[in-house]
Each structure stands twice: as structure tokens, then as C-alpha cells.
């Protein structure tokens, strides 16, 4: 059972991190905001997120050398193209971001362990964390987070926008 498999501890090797730094950041940012927008109003309730409107976010995937910048507005999430100071920056390694999404790790645990850093408006961070924690899913299955599976679900969602 995949549910019982624990995510192993891994860090993307430094040479790849340096490579990641030099790659364009737009494609991963687009993938992220598209996923978030698809979840909005379905998995992620809109109402508690009102406090996020007009706010700028940065997600730093440390070992992948990725810095994803986006904002939230009335019409959902969109990528940001300038590097001005975000309201909230969340930094962690790839492995830990995945573990958080899969509900395998508690953010406070990662924070105590210095593997998760939240800079800027902490209250926004708490809102994001607690809103995600409050989403009642049948069960998060890490297998559903593979790129193929995500793509598959994205296609299915796009095909049936009203009853997903």
C-alpha cells in the first residue's frame, strides 16, 4: 500500500540545484498556479482566502534552485514577473514540500527542525497552512502527485469543468 510508504529523505544534489537556478522559472510557476487555480473553489475553499487578495508569494524550493513567484487576486492565482519583495516567502526542500502536501509531515515539526522557513507576513502563512490542513480529502495519496497523474487529472478536469 502506497499509503504506508514513507517518503525517503532526499536532497537534490548541488550541481542540479545550480542548474535549476539558471533555468527559466516560468514553466514551474505556471504549473503551480494552474494547479492551484484548478483546486480553487473545489478543493481549496475561496472564502477563507480573502485575506490573501492582492498578496505576493514566493516559494523557494531550495534544493531544486527554484524560486516561484505568484500572487492571489479576485480571479485566482497568477505568476509574477518582477522580483519585488513578496508578502510571504516559504522555503523548503523538494522532499519536504512533497511530504507536507502528502500530509506526512507536520509543518511545525519541519520548522522546529529548521527545514521549513516562513518569512514575511506570518499570519498569511498560518492562514495558508490552516486552510490546507482543514481540507477534508478522502486520503492524500502520494502516488497521485506524480507528474503523469497530475497531467491526467488536469485533462480530466479541463474536460469536465462543472462537475469535477
Amino acid at each position: 500500500m502506497l499509503n504506508n510508504l514513507r517518503l525517503p529523505d532526499f536532497t537534490i544534489p548541488a550541481p542540479l540545484t545550480r542548474l535549476g537556478n539558471r533555468l527559466p522559472q516560468l514553466p514551474p510557476t505556471l504549473a503551480l498556479v494552474t494547479t492551484l487555480n484548478l483546486a480553487l473553489g473545489r478543493l481549496i475553499p475561496r472564502e477563507p482566502l480573502e485575506m490573501l487578495i492582492g498578496k505576493r508569494f514566493t516559494i523557494r524550493v531550495l534544493d531544486a534552485g527554484m524560486t516561484l513567484r505568484f500572487s492571489y487576486g479576485e480571479r485566482g492565482f497568477r505568476p509574477l514577473f518582477d522580483a519585488s519583495k513578496p508578502d510571504l516567502t516559504i522555503s523548503a526542500r523538494t522532499r519536504d514540500f512533497i511530504a507536507l502536501l502528502a500530509r506526512e509531515e507536520d509543518p511545525d515539526t519541519l520548522f522546529f527542525d529548521r527545514r521549513l522557513l516562513m518569512e514575511g507576513d506570518t499570519d498569511l502563512g498560518l492562514l495558508v497552512k490552516n486552510t490546507l490542513d482543514g481540507i477534508d480529502l478522502p486520503r492524500f495519496d502520494p502516488a497521485r502527485l506524480t507528474p503523469q497523474e497530475l497531467l491526467h487529472r488536469l485533462r480530466a478536469r479541463l474536460a469536465t469543468p462543472h462537475n469535477a
Binding site: 509531515e105 511545525d108 506570518t122 490552516n130 482543514g134 477534508d136
Partner: protein
């Protein structure tokens, strides 16, 4: 064979409640999404729809749901607290956890069937106080502040008809529950009246060349060197300069872990063990509930030979705040 020792687990939201139920909690304790409980953090806690779902889910599986209404109302917001008591009663919760005597009186008068627990925020450390709450308001269970030694807990249990619940695991603070003014002093928000110690709006973390800095309302309260474990941004656990020395002048961040005391807690007749952490995520609730369920079951089977396994201890240490786990006041040779 000792009586059933209930495992009371925290739930800051529906997924946490469900996972606590699924992994063996006997009770889950929750709060509404406002200042009526002492974990009033942005985005946390239950709205009406989710608490109803939670109660249904738990009750179908024979698990009780408790609602903490354990902050202190003031004259201008009294009605918000009484409305919360009414709501809890209407939704059919198994008990409310109260700290304010006025609210207890209200609950007793208006909802005579509603079971009342005395919150740790009520700070009752002796059986006279607990019996007073029992006689006047019909309190059926009291949560003891984390300041008593095992002998003192036993003394309380022996001298009261009220069920005694103790903290078994989780974050510790200076333990003047219901009376701490540190957060109010720094941020204007207190856990006692507004339900939040060090609210998110007052907290700032920043990675600097000297380490990660934590500020509370602009005041530097700690700096963590590379690889050094971090703690919650509360004033009590900050490091301060006193007489040219910078150290944890109030208390060192540590977590309570009483796993090894389980046989003793059962022997003296404690009714329930509480796990701290409504602010934590479902992952924490799952991990901690599993360990405590296993431990309680194994201790009930064979209290004589009970010994916490290394795996349990490692799992609990992993999710703990601070560098050390402690037995707290339970293991104090003096009284």
C-alpha cells in the same frame, strides 16, 4: 486491571479530528473559529458545518467530541461566549471545557444535561478548588495544570469525585495557565482573553547571516544558529541578555513526554491523558495518536512490564518542540 484511561487528542480541523478518531483516540477536543478557545489562530478550528460533520464522524465510531470554550469573556463580549455554549449544547457535543466560573454557572443553568470539564486554564491545582467547582457547577472532570508532582496528582485523585485528566505529551510553557501576561505585554493579545499567545500578525521570522531571527512585535526574542532546533515564537521561550549573558532566562523550550509514567498514572486512577497541539497539522495528530494508543493498550495488558519502545520515543521526539523532552513536574522528588 486499571480502569479505562481515555486518550484525549487535539483537533484543529476536520482532517485532524478524523485521523485522531481513526487512530484510536477516545476523545477529541476542538474549538470554534473565534476567541472562545485558547487556540484562536488564523484559519484554524471548526466552523458550524465542519464541527457537525466531525461530531457525526466521531459518534459513529464511538468517540467523544469535546469543545474547549476555555478563554475568559469580558463584560462587552459575554454574549459571544454564552452563544458558543448554546451552540455546543445544540450540536450535541459530549462536553465543554470551561475556565470561567460565570460561564460554568450559565451552562449549568441553561443546559443542565451538558457535561462540564474544568479547563487547565482554570488553574485549579488542589482538590479543594476542584471540589468547589464540582459542588457549585457540577464539573465532572478537571484538567490539571502541569505543575504537580506524581504524589500531588495522586493526592488530588484520592480526594475528589471529579475525574482527573492530565497532560501526557506536547509543548510546555511557564504554566501559569489562565494567568500568563507575557503575550499581552508584547503583542496586546493574550491567550486568556483573545485566545492566542503570540498571534501570527505579531510574529516575523528572518534568515540573516547570524542565523534565523524570531521577532515578536518587532522585538528580537531569539536567534537560531545553523542547525539549531527552533521553538515557538513565544516570549517565555526567548533568549535574553541578563547580566551580560544571553540565555533562556525564563524557560528552555522543551516538550512534555510522560510515556514512561503510564503505569503510574493508571495505578493512581487518572481518568484521561491529554495530548497538546490543536495548532498542529493532521500529520502530527496521526503520529502522536498512534504511539499513545499502542502505548496505552500495551500498558493495560501488562503494566508490570511496560516500557516505552525506542520506536515510540523516536517518533515522539521527532515532532517535539525544543531540544529536550521532559517528565515535567511529575518527576519531582520534592513536593
Amino acid at each position: 486491571m486499571s480502569a479505562l484511561l481515555e486518550l484525549v487528542c487535539p483537533a484543529g480541523g476536520l482532517p485532524a479530528l478524523k485521523t485522531a478518531v481513526d487512530h484510536g483516540a477516545n476523545c477529541v477536543y476542538t474549538g470554534f473559529r473565534d476567541a472562545t478557545n485558547a487556540r484562536n489562530f488564523t484559519g484554524l478550528n471548526f466552523d458550524d458545518a465542519s464541527i457537525k460533520q466531525g461530531i457525526e464522524y466521531a459518534h459513529q465510531r464511538g468517540v467523544k467530541v469535546l469543545v474547549a470554550l476555555n478563554t475568559f469573556p469580558l463584560t462587552d463580549n459575554w454574549l459571544q461566549w454564552t452563544a458558543a455554549v448554546d451552540k455546543a449544547a445544540a450540536f450535541g457535543v459530549d462536553a465543554v471545557i470551561l475556565a470561567d466560573p460565570g460561564l460554568m454557572e450559565y451552562a449549568k443553568r441553561n443546559h443542565p444535561k451538558l457535561r462540564l470539564h474544568l479547563s487547565v486554564q482554570g488553574s485549579a491545582t488542589n482538590y479543594e478548588a476542584i471540589n468547589f467547582y464540582h459542588q457549585h457547577f457540577g464539573i465532572q472532570r478537571a484538567v490539571l495544570p502541569r505543575v504537580l508532582s506524581m504524589a500531588q496528582v495522586e493526592h488530588v485523585v484520592k480526594n475528589t469525585p471529579v475525574e482527573i485528566e492530565v497532560f501526557g505529551f506536547g509543548g510546555l510553557c511557564v504554566m501559569v495557565e489562565g494567568r500568563c501576561a507575557l503575550s499581552a505585554y508584547t503583542t496586546g493579545t493574550s491567550p486568556n482573553c483573545q485566545g492566542a499567545c503570540s498571534p501570527g500578525k505579531a510574529v516575523r521570522y528572518e534568515e540573516t547571516p547570524a542565523g534565523m531571527e524570531t521577532r515578536l512585535n518587532g522585538i528580537l526574542i531569539d536567534r537560531f544558529g545553523q542547525g539549531e532546533r527552533a521553538g515557538y515564537p513565544t516570549l517565555c521561550k526567548g533568549r535574553f541578555e541578563v547580566d551580560d549573558e544571553t540565555y533562556y532566562a525564563i524557560e528552555e523550550p522543551a516538550s512534555l513526554n510522560t510515556l514512561e509514567l503510564l503505569p503510574e498514572l493508571m495505578r493512581i486512577g487518572v481518568s484521561a491523558i491529554k495530548i497538546e497541539g490543536r495548532q498542529r497539522s493532521p500529520a502530527y495528530v496521526t503520529q502522536v495518536t498512534k504511539v499513545w494508543r499502542d502505548a496505552i493498550d500495551s500498558c493495560r495488558r501488562d503494566p508490570e512490564h511496560f516500557k516505552p519502545t525506542a520506536a515510540w520515543m523516536a517518533e515522539l521526539n521527532k515532532v517535539s518542540e525544543g531540544r529536550s523532552a521532559t517528565l515535567g513536574a511529575y518527576n519531582r522528588p520534592w513536593k
